[in-house]
């Protein structure tokens, strides 16, 4: 009887939680990231942020569902929360960006709508992470820096799937601290990446360091 009870409790625990509520917070050195504000990076570059958008998604098994991908947009607070299903082991597994199947499937609804400005028509792939702004370090037109990081074909795919393990609480906070995102980025040297390739892969690796799961509560 006691054993049965144990299994009942276990079963109850296993099925009690199927989803995690993700919350994304944009910061700079721990403080809330502000528009029209100059920040100085570790490398000494002054930056003002205009656009920060990225896809977060659940890795697809065999087919793509529009609900399983979410576009987080710094300028739209309503996109900063996303409810994501846990896998069968109660693990939180998410992808920063979109795994290849999202780029080749026919599903183009919701946040996967190619008209949302996160899509390259000429090579049919979503931009996984877009960061744009202004910096005197960027020797470009109007001192704009533009990182459009994408690519889904090997060996230049930039999506990063992370298994955060079992989650026992439903609220999960992920902070994106731009200080950390730009910790290894030299804006003087690299300020425009608009196509997939080695440079995009390298930059994504640097920037993704700034995406940190703070924990579940």
């Amino acid at each position: 009887m006691r054993i049965l009870l144990f299994f009942l409790v276990l079963a109850n625990q296993t099925f009690s939680q199927e989803k995690a509520e993700l919350n994304f917070t944009f910061l700079f050195q721990g403080d809330s990231l502000q528009e029209n504000t100059w920040y100085i990076t570790k490398k000494g570059d002054s930056l003002k942020f205009e656009t920060i958008r990225f896809f977060v998604s659940v890795p697809p098994k065999n087919e793509v569902s529009a609900d399983a991908a979410h576009l987080v947009d710094w300028s739209k607070p309503e996109t900063h929360n996303w409810s994501v299903p846990l896998n069968e082991k109660r693990e939180l597994v998410i992808t920063y960006g979109l795994e290849p199947l999202y780029h080749t499937a026919s599903v183009m609804e919701g946040d996967l709508d190619p008209s949302l400005g996160m899509y390259w028509a000429w090579q049919s792939g979503y931009i996984h992470l877009k960061i744009e702004g202004e910096s005197p370090s960027a020797n470009t037109r109007n001192n704009k820096f533009q990182y459009h990081l994408g690519g889904y074909l090997d060996p230049f795919s930039v999506d990063k799937t992370i298994n955060f393990g079992q989650i026992y609480e439903s609220n999960v906070q992920i902070k994106i601290d731009l200080w950390d995102v730009f910790r290894l980025v030299n804006v003087k040297k690299e300020n425009e990446i608009m196509i997939p390739g080695k440079q995009a892969v390298r930059m994504m690796k640097k920037m993704i360091n700034g995406f940190v799961l703070l924990g579940a509560y």
């Binding site: 780029h103 080749t104 499937a105 026919s106 599903v107 183009m108 609804e109 709508d113 190619p114 008209s115 899509y119 028509a121 000429w122 090579q123 049919s124 074909l153 230049f156 997939p196 390739g197 080695k198």
Partner: protein, 338 residues
Amino acid sequence: MKSLFVIFLILSTSLIWKNSGDKIFSITWPEKTYDYSVNPRSDSKIQLGRALFYDPILSKDNSISCSSCHLQATGFTHVDHDLSHGIDGRIGTRNSMALMNLAWSTSFMWDGGVPALDRQTIAPITDHNEMDEDLKKVLKKLNKLPRYRKAFLEAFGAEEATTQNLLFAISQFELELISNNSKYDKYLRGEAQFNEQEQNGLQLFRNNCASCHTEPLFTSHKFENNGLPLDPTLMDYGRKKITNLAEDAQKFKVPTLRNIKHTYPYMHDGRFSKLREVLDHYTDNIERSSTLSPQLKKAIKLSSNEKADIIAFLFTLTDDDFLFNPKFGYPREFFSKE
């Protein structure tokens, strides 16, 4: 043991004879690659897609439609233009591809940059040198017109056009563009005869060309460098732009040869206007490089008469039922409703 060897020899010779002789060997069409489960076929979608295909509303200044560069009577390509042009007379960098049997295609565009038919139309709509339009603006324009609201409702159960439904409808029309009733097809089915020249041409074709231009679709769907020198005014490295891999430099998609009589000029940049020039390229002007197609490493040798025979065979790939099928033409009725 010896007798076994003799039997083997007889067997293998007869097999070779069967394949290389003038016998027809039956060719079965492969399964379609398009996944209809996401976008099930329906007549209302096909008709909506047909209207959209012929409507210049898709372009920024409402001047260019899909059919501007993909004309039915010429195999849905832009005849007599080496490079196609878009709005404001802007010139693109490649020859428009012929549209047919797309349900069997595994990738789209000369460089295969588009992996799914449903995503292909985004490229010409948004390309600066083609229609140069924003997808959202296209939807806005369509949603203002009662005839489209009605057509979207019939096709998708919702009046409001969405990006996905717009693309699904165009796909549905394009998937209907099947060319399988040429003299060659009839010959394979035993409904037509080849003359001696056509038959010889078929044989030469099978021996020299068919490993890339695989029957019955006349394409392997692969990307190959066919030994064309790089055009310094275009510097088009083809597939390499998509994959960023040096091994893909100057590789382009193997195009179908169906209806080739009408789809000139030829090659990704339309550099040849006559089939004879194409064959002369393959026999005399292959540029050797590390990415050259393995099939072209050994020189192709064809006499002038043999080339004429191959061309005679290629002309049997013309499918008038396809080129003049009224179902694929301009939908006068749809546009005359208002």
